[in-house]
Amino acid sequence: MGELHLMTVAELSDLLHAGSVSSVELTRAFLARIERHARALNAFISVDAELALAQAAAADERRRAGDAGALLGVPIAHKDIFCTLGQRTTCGSRMLANFISPYDATVVQRLRAAGVVTLGKTNMDEFAMGSSNETSFFGPARNPWDVTRVPGGSSGGSAAAVAARLAPAATGTDTGGSIRQPAALCGVTGIKPTYGRVSRFGMIAFASSLDQGGLLGISAEDAALLLAAMAGFDPRDSTSVELPVPDYAATLEQPLKGLKIGLLREFFAGLDPAIEQLIRTALAVLHTQGAVLREVSLPHLPLSVPTYYVVAPAECSSNLARYDGVRYGYRCQSPRDLVDLYQRSRGEGFGAEVKRRIMIGTYVLSAGYYDAYYLKAQQVRALIASDFERAFHEVDVLIGPSTPTTAFALGAKTEDPVTMYLNDIYTIGANLAGLPAMSLPCGFLEQLPVGLQIIGPHFAEARLLNIAHRYQCETDWHLRVPQGFG
C-alpha cells in the first residue's frame, strides 16, 4: 500500500470501509510522512502521534462495532487556530506558544464525532495575519513545489501539508483569503464557506465579522465530504446560521448545462496575461460542459483591500485585547506593575505584523477617526456586498483568478506590508460580503500552481462544489504532486 498517501479522502474512506486498511495503519503512514518532511516544509507546529494513534485505534474499534461513517478513521490535520482539548493551540504566536486548550472547537468536536483522526496542528501566520506564513512565531512553512517559496497564508501549513500529501486534508480559516490564497499557491482545493455556515466557536478570532472556517483538500469531492461534517448551526456561536446542511456529495455530479458564469471585469483588468490564459482555458472546460459565460462588473470591488484593512484590524485590535498576560498565555518576566505587565507581555508576546494591525485597528476606532475610517469602511463594505448581490441576479457564480501571482520567494514581500496585502486583492471581496468561495488548481506557470476562484451567492456551497467537481472530472491538475513528495 505504498500509494496510500496519494489517495483522496473519498478513496481512503472506501478502503477503510472495505477493511483493506485500518485507521491505525493509515495514521501511522501519514505520521511517518510528516516526520520525514518536517524539516523541509515546517508545515506542522505540533504533532501528537500518540494521541493520533489512540484516536485511530478508537475509530477502528467503532468500525468493528458496526459504525460505518464515511469519515470514520480518516486522519486529517487542523490549522493551529482551532482549539483542541488537551493539546497545544498556538495560533502561530509566541503569545500562545505554551497554551494547552481546555476545550475542543466545535469544528474539531464535530469531525471527531464523525471519527476523524487529528494528525497534528498546522503552521500558520501569527493569529492568521499574513499571506505568506512568514509571520509565524514558529518560522514559515514552505511551498512543496519550491521550498524557497512561500506556501501562502495564513493557512500555509495546511496547504503545504495537503500539497505534499502529509495529510489528505486539513482545516483552515479564511478572513481575507487565508484558505483560497494558500490553496492556489500550493495547488490544492480550498473552500471558504458562507459566513455563518461553520461555527466559529473555538476558532481563535482574528476579525470576527470576516473569519470563517473551511478546509483544504485534494479534491472538491473530499471538500464536500468534510464540509458536510463540519458545517451547521451551533448554539454557542450567535453568528452561525440555523439552516440545514445539504448533502454536498449528492449533488456533485449535476450537469453544468445552462450554468451562468460571470467573469469579473475588475479581476481581469491588469491580470498577468499568463495567468489569464490559464483561467480562460479553465472557463473553456466549463463552457464545453454547457456553461454560459458573461462579463459582469462590480464597480466597488477595487475598494476591497483598503476597506478590509480598516475593518479587519479594527476587530483584531479588540479581539486580541484578551492576551494580557493575566490569565493564560505569555507573561513577561518580573513585571514592575500592571502597566509594565501589559506592555511587555504584549510587546514581547506578539510579532511585528500583529502589532501593526492592532495599532491600525486602534487608530481607526479612536475618537475623531471612527467616522472617517471605521464607519466609512462599513459603508463601502455594504456597497461591495450589494454589488455582489446585483451580480447574482444576472449570473449563478463568479469566476476569476485566486491570486495575482504564483508563489513568491520567501522574504520577497516582507519588507513592504502593502505589497503583501495586495496579494489578497481577489479574495477579500467574498469575505466582506460573507460569500462562499473556492480555489482549485487550474494549471502551472513555471512549475508553480495557479488557482481558479469560484464565488457564489450565500449558502451556494453545493453549487460551487458541483462546478469544481465537474471541472476536476475533466482535468487532473488537482492530482499533480510536487516532485519529491510522490
Partner: protein, 484 residues
C-alpha cells in the same frame, strides 16, 4: 448669587437571572472566588458570547414599566479598555442603539407635589469582575465571579434639582425593579448602585454648568451626602472665581467628601464599535405584548388602587407601596380586621403598619416579609381596638409584646389583664377617688383653671393602669366636674 443644582443619575441594576448575560455560569453572590467563571467569562481564546434571553425579557419589562420605547432592534457594542477585572479587554454594552429609551417615572416630593423625571435610556451590559487587595500584602487578586453578570444601566435626564430629589428618584427605581422582580435591590452586595452627574448653574440660567461624575454610590445615604458635598464644592469653586473641571470623582465614605479619581483611569478612549460576535438584538411586537401582559401591578397603580379601595391619602398610599410586600401586608390587615367594608378600618391599619410595626421592623433590621407578627395577628390586635377592648396606646404595648413573645393579642390581653375598663361604675369610682385625693386642684379647677382637666384624666388613667376607656372617661369626668 443663587445656584441651582442639576443632577442626573446612572443607575446600575443587576438583573436577577440565574445565569450570566453571555455565558452559562451562575450569578449567585458570595461564592468562593472564581468558582462561577467559565471559559467564556475568563475570555479564553476562541470562545464566543451568547445572549441570555431572560436578561432581555427583564429589560423589556423595565422599559414597559417606565412607559419607554422598547427598541425592535438594538445593538451590542464593545467598550474597549484594559483592566485585570475585565478579561476580554472590553465590556459588552449597548451604545448607540439601547434596548430602552425615552421613559419617565413620577416622584412625590415632601410637600406632596409630584415631579416627572425623564429616563433617557436603559441598556443591557455585563458587569466586570472584582479586584481584591485585602490581606494580600501588596498583591492584587482577581475574582471573576461577577464578570458577565447582567446589568441594566438606567440613565436619567438631568431633571433632578436636589440630593433629596435624586434619592427619591433612586428609591422609585429601586421600588420598581423589585416590584418587577428583575433585581434583588441589595445595595450592600452591589446589586443596585449609581453614578451621580452633578453640575450647578445660576438659578434661571438655561445653559448647563460643567458636570462631574461621582462613581459607584451604593446607598441612598451616600447618594445624598455625595451630591450635597459636590453641589457645595462646585458653588464654592465658582464663587471663588474658579472653574469646575469635568472629571470623574469618588466618594470617600469615611471623610464624607468626593475627590477626583486618578486621571490615568479616566483618560480612556473606549473605541466603541458594534460587537461582531453578536447579531443585532431584534424583538418583535408579539414578544413585547407577551411581556406586557405578564407585568405585575406596579407601584403607581397599586397606590392609586389603595387610595380608591381603602380611602388612603396619597402620602399613606405612597409609603405603603414602597415595597409590594408592605402593601400586601397592609391589605391583609385591612381586610382581616373585618367591618362593613375595607374602607372602614383602613386608616387604623395603615397607621399601625406605617407607625409601630415599621418602627419594630427598623429597630430589628428585618424586612416586612420577615415580620414576627403576621398580618392576621395584627388584624386580631386591631379588632380589639375596634371593639374597645384596648385603647390605642395600650394596643402599641400589646404589639410590642406580640413581637417579642410571638403570642396572639388576645392571649396577651388575658394574661396581663389589659382589658379596657368601659364599665361606667368602675370609671366613676376611680374619678371620685381621684377628686377626693386632690381637693386643692379641684378647687383651682372650679376657680377657672380649666387646664387641670388633663391632670385629672392623667390621674384616673394612672389609677386604672391606663385601662379606662378614654372616651368614656372624658365624658364622665366632664359630667362630674360640671355637675359638682
Amino acid at each position: 448669587m443663587e445656584w441651582e443644582p442639576v443632577i442626573g443619575l446612572e443607575i446600575h441594576a443587576q438583573l436577577a437571572t440565574r445565569s450570566k448575560i453571555f455565558s452559562g455560569s451562575a450569578t449567585a453572590y458570595g461564592a468562593p472566588p472564581n468558582t462561577q467563571a467559565d471559559l467564556v467569562d475568563l475570555a479564553y481564546p476562541g470562545v464566543l458570547p451568547v445572549l441570555n434571553a431572560e436578561a432581555v425579557r427583564m429589560a423589556v419589562e423595565f422599559g414597559l414599566a417606565i412607559n419607554a420605547r422598547v427598541a425592535r432592534r438594538s445593538v451590542f457594542a464593545r467598550k474597549n479598555y484594559f483592566y485585570p477585572d475585565l478579561p476580554k479587554g472590553y465590556q459588552i454594552s449597548q451604545y448607540e442603539l439601547p434596548i430602552v429609551s425615552g421613559g419617565a417615572v413620577d416622584i412625590v416630593l415632601e410637600d406632596g407635589t409630584t415631579r416627572r423625571i425623564g429616563v433617557t435610556r436603559a441598556h443591557l451590559e455585563e458587569d466586570a469582575g472584582k479586584s481584591l487587595h485585602e490581606g494580600l500584602a501588596g498583591l492584587t487578586a482577581v475574582d471573576l465571579n461577577r464578570a458577565g453578570t447582567p446589568l441594566i444601566e438606567i440613565v436619567s435626564e438631568p431633571h433632578l434639582r436636589s440630593a433629596r430629589e435624586a434619592v427619591a428618584y433612586m428609591k422609585k427605581i429601586h421600588t420598581l425593579v423589585r416590584y418587577l422582580g428583575i433585581c434583588d435591590g441589595n445595595m450592600q452586595e452591589g446589586s443596585f448602585r449609581c453614578d451621580a452627574n452633578v453640575s450647578v448653574r445660576p438659578r434661571g440660567a438655561e445653559k448647563l454648568g460643567t458636570r462631574t461624575e461621582t462613581k459607584n454610590l451604593n446607598s441612598f445615604r451616600f447618594v445624598e451626602r455625595a451630591i450635597n458635598y459636590e453641589v457645595a464644592r462646585q458653588i464654592e469653586v465658582l464663587e471663588g472665581g474658579g472653574r469646575v473641571l469635568q472629571e470623574t470623582r469618588l466618594f470617600d465614605v469615611d471623610r464624607g467628601e468626593t475627590r477626583p479619581m486618578r486621571s490615568k483611569e479616566e483618560a480612556n478612549d473606549y473605541r466603541y464599535f458594534p460587537d461582531p460576535d453578536l447579531l443585532p438584538l431584534e424583538i418583535d411586537q408579539p414578544t413585547i405584548d407577551a411581556v406586557a401582559a405578564g407585568l405585575p401591578e406596579l407601584p403607581d397603580q397599586k397606590a392609586q388602587r389603595l387610595m380608591s379601595e381603602y380611602g388612603l391619602s396619597a402620602y399613606d398610599a405612597g409609603v405603603l407601596t414602597a415595597s409590594a410586600e408592605l402593601a400586601d401586608y397592609f391589605e391583609v390587615v385591612a381586610r382581616d380586621i373585618g367591618g362593613t367594608s375595607p374602607l372602614q378600618h383602613a386608616k387604623l391599619a395603615a397607621n399601625m403598619v406605617m407607625g409601630e410595626l415599621s418602627g419594630l421592623l427598623n429597630r430589628d433590621g428585618v424586612e416586612i416579609d420577615g415580620s414576627r407578627v403576621s398580618p392576621a395577628s395584627l388584624a386580631g390586635l386591631l379588632r380589639r381596638v375596634v371593639d374597645n377592648t384596648l385603647s390605642g396606646k395600650i394596643a402599641k404595648d400589646v404589639l410590642e409584646a406580640m413581637w417579642t413573645e410571638g403570642c396572639e393579642a388576645d392571649a396577651i390581653i388575658e394574661a396581663r389583664g389589659l382589658r379596657q375598663i368601659t364599665d361606667e361604675g368602675a370609671i366613676e369610682a376611680a374619678i371620685d377617688a381621684v377628686l377626693a385625693a386632690n381637693p386643692a386642684q379641684l378647687q383651682d379647677y372650679r376657680g377657672g383653671k380649666e387646664k387641670l382637666f388633663g391632670f385629672f384624666i392623667g390621674q384616673v388613667m394612672k389609677a386604672t393602669s391606663g385601662k379606662a376607656n378614654p372616651g368614656r372617661l372624658n365624658e364622665l369626668l366632664r359630667k362630674k366636674l360640671g355637675g359638682g
